[in-house]
């Protein structure tokens, strides 16, 4: 029996007002008179009417809301109704909470198959045609996860409201596990690898992302053991061997680099740096675990890890981003015996939200890809809900725009964790599943959501990309699990090992932990599922969210289970770790998987990757002098890659856990900074400094220097905030494209080599990293013309450091008139791929990328960074800003706008060599920091900076103007601060 309880605001509903505005922005200005929203709970359970009335009561706030049972009530006449609900099997958090509340109220559990399903009903009045309302509906739902029901007033009246049906999952799929015939010709093997195992009806199950080599290797293995693989075995191997999980491109040999890029360059650099640092080495656990861990103080370790969730975000931006952020939170929980997430970071690489071009995945132009604006709003909202609901401060992030992110956006998410060095006297970063330990799955249940995530994100996105890879996160289920494990079970010593269920689901997490004990045995029928009828292979590889896998000693199990029950967390024994050397899976007694662990983990064939050099020569802009530099600066402040992103900073809780010190918005002018400082242990003065570097635009000239600049930028940002370069560690996140092309691999090789060279030169070790190698989109334009969009080779470098006293960190805002302005570092004619060239290109509708890419002199910069750190520790610096995108002009403007104080600066004295005013203003030469210093500290500051290229270039003033004199001493910029702030805040003011 289905009963609908409909709840509506009796008081003004802010959500409806905002929606009305959003609808109008779809080109329907003046057409929409009113919008009303009704939240509808469809209860599919046997309840008597008295109970229904009690339920309605507790779902309604008597002061603000009214509820009706089954009737849908609206205040006035309306013209259209749109109901948005979830598709079967899609995570419905509100529905789940409603169910729990009802069960708690009525003191009785829902039966299997009973449930609560929410939908939102929009009543819209206005002169709207069907196509208008269709447009509105499209803006409200994503057909991959939601359904939309549209009705005119007449239809609504005729049918007396809306249907009483619910999106219940009904699976008729077969329970039996099939064998896959691998004794077929290569053509068929390739097909299985690419499109997946064939179902009875001839349809394919979706990508295994395995090429012929892989398929032949598997064929050979099963010939050896004298049988055919089951579908579950083949799926399982595909997950484990996927690029996503095994990072084969970084692992395999490349040209002369026999041990591969990762071992040789990334790990190689870290090992060398650690050796050099000797007793000063602060790395604790690097590369081996879900996150990298460094020393925080004598008591604690901090961990860091950044991830991407690009492919899912392209399909469903909200779901992709929220599962990204809660997923990387589990990488903290999965470090050692479990670290507590204490800081989140984010970064979105997107196409211009104003871009209107319509693209399709398929040639029949049926599968439209989402608009850049939709993707932008979705990913921002995803991290909003994921971070805020989890009570983890989102302290820092960035936006970067380029048209080449139109096909696949890049969604970076990262989490810093905190864990005591010792737990019950043992080293907290060590863990080992022991033979005989129980395999315990904790947290959410398994469903159809998240099938083939690992394999499809290892390929270009096209019309074959499975919608089943899409999921929505459930932060509260995870929060309950996180609290129960990290704050209680861990310190009670109730488990031996723990890892996250991410890509590949159980098939990867269990097999991964099985390495520790050297074997595992799983009984699939014990795995709790969201709904009956799920095929065994899906249960095994599903990436359903909010799950951790733990190894629990048998004698600890009763205590562990009791604790989880008391905390409202589901925990289930699904098998046992063994030392059989095998990964064995049974389903209702029948063996459905029995593979040697060694083959599963190390059986994949080695590849020899070949690269091919790419030579690039770009068009240089004409050397004519820019006349109106005032205007150029103002335009620069409005640029997508420079403008204020306050609307994001303000909707992400960055102060929960009470550790926020340097916040996302700095000074009176609320300017976005590149440096965040957090205080993760409240009774300690020590802090964490976070910064980042990302310059994909530089890849258009040289990926080697792109990577070098990303590293220098990340370090520079941290140092500007007060970090000590001797206590800085780095993360690398590569987001490449077409990594099967030798030219792209050559670019990759250059970038990774730069990471090696500069990490060593700066003495900053890599502690963790991740890559995503196929960020390409293959589709069609409106005229069915096939096209491929590849992201520019993108590298995010995240820096994390520890400072002894958070009160000795520095914000970027100018503090007092009369303070002296210094520039540290040299300025050269290095505007290749700069924001300024992009600005000129747009103005003249050309592609002036140029070739003079900024080059990094690590030795020179390192001395500046070390000396500045000493100055900051001595409290000689009043403000400090890293000079990056937009050059000196933007850095000075930020300092002035943030402090709401004028500056009076002369460029004639800047160190370096640059001959043109506009180039001097906008050059993106690395290694530069602009600081302000109280005249009282001038002597000591200059003494400490001796031997560096550093010059006094002007003063902070109490005028409301930014005044800059050019190389020739003439005034070139004279900007009113209010005007500048207006420009800086204009681009996203309606977001």
């Amino acid at each position: 029996m289905i009963t609908r309880i409909n709840v509506k605001y009796a008081t003004p509903d802010a959500r409806a007002k905002v929606k009305q505005k959003n609808f109008a922005e779809l080109g329907l200005w003046g057409k929409i008179k009113a919008v009303e929203i009704v939240d509808s709970y469809a209860i599919d359970a046997k309840l008597n009417f008295a109970d229904i009335k009690r339920v309605a009561k507790i779902l309604t706030n008597p002061l603000m809301e009214k509820s009706t049972i089954n009737r849908l009530e609206v205040s006035g006449k309306f013209d259209w109704m749109i109901e948005i609900g979830f598709l079967p099997g899609v995570t419905d958090n509100v529905g789940a909470t409603a169910k729990e509340t009802i069960e708690d109220l009525l003191k009785k559990k829902f039966k299997n198959g009973e449930g609560v399903y929410v939908s939102q009903v929009f009543f819209i009045s206005g002169k709207l045609k069907l196509e208008d309302i269709q447009k509105i509906a499209d803006s409200l739902y994503n057909p991959l996860i939601q359904s939309a029901r549209i009705k005119s007033y007449a239809e609504f009246r005729k049918q007396k409201g809306t249907e009483k049906d619910v999106p219940k999952v009904r699976l008729s799929s077969s329970q039996n596990v099939g064998q896959v015939d691998l004794e077929v010709n290569d053509e068929e093997l390739i097909k299985i690898g690419k499109q997946g195992i064939a179902n009875a009806d001839g349809t394919r199950r979706g990508p295994l992302a395995m090429d012929l080599d892989y398929m032949l290797t598997i064929q050979k293995y099963f010939r050896k053991i004298g049988r055919q693989p089951t579908d579950l075995e083949l799926e399982s191997i595909a997950q484990t061997w996927s690029e996503h999980c095994k990072h084969t491109i970084f692992a395999n040999s490349m040209d002369e680099i026999k041990d591969g890029l990762y071992k040789t360059y990334i790990k190689g650099a870290t090992n060398l740096i650690r050796k050099k640092k000797g007793r000063k080495d602060f790395c604790v656990s690097v590369f081996t675990d879900n996150s990298g861990g460094i020393e925080f103080d004598e008591k604690y370790i901090i961990t860091h890890k950044a991830e991407t969730h690009n492919s899912p975000s392209a399909l469903d931006p909200f779901g992709g981003a929220i599962t990204g952020i809660v997923g990387v939170n589990r990488d903290a929980m999965g470090f050692g015996l479990g670290a507590k997430p204490v800081v989140n970071i984010y970064g979105f690489c997107l196409a211009d939200p104003k871009e209107k071009r319509v693209l399709y995945k398929d040639e029949d132009l049926k599968q439209k890809i989402l608009s850049p604006k939709r993707i932008m709003q979705g990913v921002i909202q995803g991290v909003n809900v994921g971070g805020n609901c989890s009570g983890i401060p989102t302290a820092q992030g960035f936006l970067f725009f380029d048209e080449r992110y139109r096909g696949k956006p890049l969604v970076f998410v990262g989490t810093v964790g905190l864990i005591p060095k010792k737990i019950r006297g043992k080293d907290s970063w060590k863990k080992k599943a022991m033979p005989g330990d129980l395999i315990v799955m904790v947290g959410g249940r398994v469903g159809q959501d998240g099938i083939h995530g690992a394999t499809f994100s290892s390929e270009a996105m096209d019309s074959g990309s499975p919608a089943t890879a899409v999921q929505i996160g459930d932060p509260i289920t995870q929060k309950k699990m996180s609290d129960a494990i990290i704050k209680e079970a861990r310190d009670a010593g109730l488990y031996n090992s723990i890892t996250d269920n991410g890509a590949g689901g159980l098939s990867c997490s269990v097999a991964e932990m099985a390495k520790e004990s050297h074997g595992c045995f799983v009984e699939l029928e014990k795995v709790p599922v969201k709904y009956p009828g799920l095929e065994p292979w899906k249960i095994w590889i599903s990436e359903s969210q909010e799950r951790m896998t733990l190894s629990v000693p048998k004698k600890k199990w009763p205590a562990f289970l009791k604790l989880m029950q008391r905390r409202g967390v589901e925990a289930t024994v699904i098998g046992e770790f063994t030392n059989s050397g095998k990964c064995v899976v049974k389903n209702n007694g029948r063996v459905v998987m029995d593979i040697d662990l060694d083959f599963l983990h190390n059986g994949l064939p080695e590849k020899k990757l070949q690269t091919k050099e790419v030579k690039i020569k770009n068009l240089e802009p004409p050397k004519q002098k820019e006349k109106n530099l005032n205007k150029a600066v103002i335009q620069m402040l409005k640029r997508l890659n420079i403008t204020s992103s306050e609307f994001i900073s303000k909707q992400y809780d960055h102060e929960v856990q009470a550790g926020s010190v340097l916040k996302p918005l700095m000074g009176r002018g609320r300017v976005n900074g590149d440096t965040a400082v957090m205080c993760p242990v409240l009774n300690s003065k020590k802090g964490i400094v976070l910064s980042y570097g990302i310059n994909p635009n530089y890849s258009d000239i040289s990926t080697y220097h792109m990577a070098a600049c990303a590293i220098d930028s990340a370090i520079r940002g941290a140092v500007a905030g007060g970090a000590d370069i001797e206590r800085l560690a780095l993360l690398d996140n590569f987001c490449w494209c077409s990594s099967n092309e030798p030219e792209r691999l050559w670019q990759l090789k250059q970038a990774v080599k730069a990471c090696h060279d500069y990490a060593i030169a700066f003495g900053t070790p890599f502690i963790s990293g991740k890559d995503s190698m196929f960020n390409d989109f293959k589709g069609f334009d409106e005229n069915k013309k096939p096209l491929k969009i590849s992201v520019p080779p993108t590298l995010l470098i995240s820096a994390i450091g520890v400072v002894p006293d958070v009160a000795r960190t520095v914000s970027l805002d100018a503090k007092f008139p009369g303070d002296l302005i210094y520039i540290l570092g040299e300025t050269f004619d290095e505007l290749g791929a700069s924001e300024y060239f992009a600005q000129i290109s747009e103005k003249e509708n050309k592609k002036y990328i140029g070739n003079n890419i900024p080059k990094v002199d690590a030795r020179k910069n390192k001395k500046i960074y070390a000396d500045l750190c000493r100055c900051i520790q001595r409290e000689l610096v009043a403000s400090s800003v890293s000079v990056g995108r937009g050059g000196i002009a933007v850095a000075l403007l930020k300092t002035a706008m943030a402090g709401k104080l004028g500056v009076d600066v002369a460029l004639a004295k800047i160190p370096g060599n640059v001959l043109q005013n506009d180039l001097a203003l906008f050059s993106e030469s690395q290694g530069r920091i602009i600081v302000t210093v109280s005249p009282k500290n001038q002597k000591e500051f200059e003494k400490k900076m001796k031997g560096n290229k550093a010059e006094l270039i002007g003063k902070v003033t109490n005028k409301n103007f930014v005044e800059i004199k050019g190389l020739d001493g003439k005034n070139i910029v004279n900007l009113n601060l209010n005007f500048a702030l207006l420009a800086y805040r204009s681009t996203f003011k309606d977001f």
């Binding site: 008081t11 509903d13 802010a14 959500r15 007002k17 905002v18 507790i58 779902l59 706030n61 002061l63 603000m64 809301e65 509100v94 789940a96 909470t97 409603a98 729990e100 509340t101 708690d104 109220l105 909003n384 809900v385 805020n388 609901c389 989890s390 009570g391 932060p475 509260i476 929060k479 309950k480 609290d483 008391r566 905390r567 409202g568 303000k650 909707q651 992400y652 809780d653 102060e655 929960v656 856990q657 009470a658 010190v661 916040k663 918005l665 000074g667 009176r668 609320r670 205080c679 409240l682 009774n683 958070v806 009160a807 520095v810 805002d813 503090k815 007092f816 009043a878 109280s934 009282k936």
Partner: protein, 256 residues
Amino acid sequence: MRKPKVLILSGYGLNCEEETKFAFELAGAEGRIVHINDLIDGSVKLKNFQILAIPGGFSYGDDTGSGKAYANKIKNHLQKEINDFVKEDKLVIGICNGFQILTNLGLLPGALNFNDSARYTDRWVDIKIEGESPWLVGIKTLSVPIAHGEGKYFTDKKTLAKLKKEKRITAKYFKGEICRYQDYPANPNGALEDIAGVLGAGGKILGMMPHPERAMFFTQLPNWPYLKEKYKREGKKIPIYGPGLKIFQNAVKYFQ
């Protein structure tokens, strides 16, 4: 001196319990974080505490309405314990989500509606303190952060008049030091008559949207880098603590 015992509720998505406990202990209390299920199954007794703190967070992810589901759980299992607790000479504070829960419980009048922006907002505000409460002794104004999606205070005319008469509207947003510094409007969410917090039980129950525990240290202030420079140049001492701490100290004093 004797330390008052504070019970800080946790569970189901509340998430500010640790820093709230820290603030109480910094102020000289003895704090204990207690999962609501441990109260329900009786393994911890509310009556053994002097102060009940319902901290901020996202109980049940605000599903079905902020604070609603958690309040229902309390109603279903702990109504009597709560009623007995507030009858005695004890203190209760609800911060942010805790305030939303207290209003849903009917322990405080009014309700918290969606922000006018219909969006979660984290920023600093200034509040003016009025009315008599042990929590607020000697506090005239406070600069503290808010962080919520449903913080717009609402109540009906009758209740509003009553609240005014009884001086129970204790915190109002106004344009003070921080709003001037960051150039923000006083009212962050469209709250009725700028109401940020109200009192119950003769001032012993305090509910507020702002987070005093996020203003317990000087370095939590958005303008601390400026103030530090200023104090240094004036030869003044750099403070360690922030304005929010006083609320917790007041609660401790009340029992000493």
